[in-house]
């Protein structure tokens, strides 16, 4: 068994697999994880705020940026996490597998860290495709695993801190004369704190016979690549991979990359009136109620309730705003909206602009048929009860007869098919 472990580690030894590379890739991955965690928490609290929370309403595209970044950083985690696992893979074959109880806990936490991270980014990716082949709820698990991952990350950094700080900076570069122009020299820098534990392929352990022996000696005879070529090639591959997975998908939210959006789950301009759709009128079962002639928007914000028909809303002073629809799944779309300023409407109905509002949709079921809006959004001059989109009457799929549009909020809170607006008693 011991020999098998040594064999495995010797076979897997590579100029790329050292603590310095683990530190280089690890800090990028750690950064990506922290960015995902921060932007994810922001998105979570926007949707489920704690009672004391208020949020900035400017810049109006704030959520577009934070959530776009969340998805971009999440996609970048695929190459970074796989690269990190590639670098540290020989650690899997430590011998003896467990040296102490603390060592057992550390290895168990690494296993959980790796497994949870792989699942987290995978279900996140699948969520952007709106495909749910897993046997658990997305939102709750994605949220809970985020804490498991960040917790494991802190433990991992705590355990490895001496190694990380020893490898934070590159080891001194060999002098120029040691380098060959075509890099045939195998320049290995003596940096490795673990070096004495790492068996090298050159040790030449005796080979067993049989199939395993043949396979191993076949592998043994494989030529090694020059160390510098390997390292540079590895880093270039990681950099190109991150650039490719990010660059070819981020166009769904960052307009300059729209032209190379080959693999994004959404495409700018694709959807009714040039805006992508998430929940349809059929899913929300509002097709009849939203098109009913007697539809009114009722405001219960002052002493008495007041109802407005669509014609009455259209007759009120109209405001034009440019605001993005930005979805939790990471896509966003700038659009022109026209409608009645929410604060004017609240004013007209005898309400105070300092009250939080409850927005109720015609939707019969679904998590967002009823949402709450903090007073900071109610007061904002960009917040509209929108009646038109991109110069046309709002499409049924975009929330006809009237929908909410506010700066800096996730799409799920831009309530479509509005039916009733209530003040929440403080």
């Amino acid at each position: 068994m011991r020999r098998l472990m040594y064999e495995a580690r010797a076979q897997l030894a590579s100029p790329v697999r050292n603590p310095r590379m683990a530190t280089v890739i690890g800090r990028l991955l750690g950064l990506a994880f922290l960015v995902c965690f921060g932007t994810g928490l922001y998105s979570h609290f926007l949707q489920q705020p704690l009672p004391w929370m208020t949020f900035p309403t400017r810049p109006a595209g704030l959520y577009q940026v934070t959530q776009g970044t969340h998805i971009v950083a999440g996609i970048a985690c695929f190459p970074l996490l796989l690269a990190k696992l590639y670098v540290v893979f020989p650690q899997l074959f430590q011998y003896p597998p467990v040296t102490s109880f603390a060592n057992f806990l550390e290895r168990a936490s690494i296993a959980l860290f790796v497994g949870a991270s792989l699942v987290e980014i995978t279900i996140g990716l699948l969520n952007t495709y709106q495909w749910y082949p897993f046997p658990f709820p997305f939102k709750q698990v994605h949220f809970a695993l985020a804490f498991v991952i960040i917790g494991s990350l802190a433990v991992h950094i705590g355990v490895k801190l001496p190694l990380i700080s020893a490898n934070w900076r590159a080891a001194p570069v060999p002098a120029p004369e040691e380098r060959h122009p075509v890099d045939t020299g195998n320049v290995e820098t003596p940096t490795d704190a673990h070096a004495e534990n790492e068996p090298s392929a050159a040790e030449g352990l005796p080979r067993t016979r049989g199939l395993t022996g043949r396979v191993l000696s076949y592998i043994d005879r494989t030529p090694e690549l020059p160390a510098r070529t390997s390292r540079r090639g590895f880093l270039t591959t990681v950099a190109l991979s991150v650039a490719a997975v990010v660059g070819l998908t981020a166009g769904q939210t960052f307009a300059p990359l729209d032209g190379v959006n080959l693999f994004g789950p959404r495409k700018k301009g694709v959807g009714q009136q040039g805006v992508p759709v998430n929940r349809t009128s059929a899913q929300a079962k509002v097709s009849t109620t939203a098109l009913a002639a007697d539809w009114v928007l009722t405001l219960a914000v002052g002493g008495t309730e007041r109802s407005f028909s669509r014609a009455e809303l259209v007759a009120l002073p109209q405001t034009d705003v440019e605001l993005p629809i930005a979805c939790v799944e990471g896509w966003s779309q700038m659009a022109s909206w026209r409608g009645v300023r929410l604060r004017d409407l609240v004013d007209l109905a005898g309400g105070s602009p300092d009250a939080d509002l409850r927005l109720i949709s015609l939707e019969q079921r679904g998590g967002f048929k009823q949402t709450e809006m903090g007073s900071e959004y109610v007061r904002d001059s960009l917040t509209l009860v929108a009646l038109e989109l991109n110069g046309e009457t709002l499409d049924l799929e975009h929330g006809y007869p009237a929908r909410m549009i506010a700066p800096g909020r996730p799409g799920v809170l831009q309530t479509k098919w509005l039916s009733r607006i209530e003040a929440i008693k403080a």
């Binding site: 076979q11 897997l12 695929f78 190459p79 796989l82 696992l85 590639y86 296993a111 790796v114 497994g115 792989l118 699942v119 699948l126 495709y129 709106q130 495909w131 897993f134 046997p135 658990f136 709750q140 698990v141 949220f143 809970a144 804490f147 498991v148 960040i150 917790g151 802190a154 433990v155 950094i157 705590g158 355990v159 700080s165 075509v182 045939t184 076949y218 005879r221 494989t222 030529p223 090694e224 690549l225 070529t229 390997s230 090639g233 591959t237 190109l240 991979s241 490719a244 997975v245 959006n261 080959l262 693999f263 994004g264 789950p265 959404r266 495409k267 959807g271 992508p276 349809t280 899913q283």
Partner: protein
């Protein structure tokens, strides 16, 4: 250093505990075995399938290319890794598209075609880069002496 390590580990354990609490608090207990299976499955899939494949790829490309410069082997390896990674990410989109998205604005692109074009572009690019390395290596080797590389 010691204080920082203790603090990091303590914060980490708290984070883990909070994550576990959120999990049992918000997810039905009967769903948890499924989650455990996915986490375990992810580890097995990586350690027992992806890693050996990558290792095998490394051995095969190095043996197939034992007569060419290391930089060319690395170029070919990089192209295969890039293509495989993109396939890994885009394949679920193709499957989800095939199953039928809930509305036409979800997954509106021709992902299979784009993936094919991506592989094609990788092939062309790796040939060009390899040629460039080949020419450069020959020149560099011929300049100081006439002895073969």
């Amino acid at each position: 250093m010691r204080a920082a390590r203790v603090l990091l580990i303590a914060v980490g354990v708290l984070g883990l505990a909070f994550g576990a609490y959120v999990l049992v608090d918000t997810v039905a207990l009967k769903r948890l075995p499924g989650l455990a299976l996915w986490i375990g499955g992810a580890i097995v899939l990586h350690d027992a399938v992806i890693s050996p494949l990558v290792f095998g790829l490394g051995v095969l490309t190095r043996r197939a290319g034992h007569r060419v410069a290391g930089s060319i082997i690395v170029t070919v390896q990089a192209a295969i890794v890039l293509g495989s990674l993109m396939t890994l990410i885009v394949l679920p989109a193709i499957v989800a598209q095939d199953l039928g998205p809930k509305n036409p604005s979800i997954l509106p692109l021709d992902y299979a075609l784009n993936l094919g074009l991506f592989w094609l572009a990788l092939a062309v690019a790796s040939v060009l880069v390899s040629l460039w390395f080949y020419v450069r290596t020959r020149r560099a080797n011929q300049r100081p002496s006439r002895i073969q590389s």
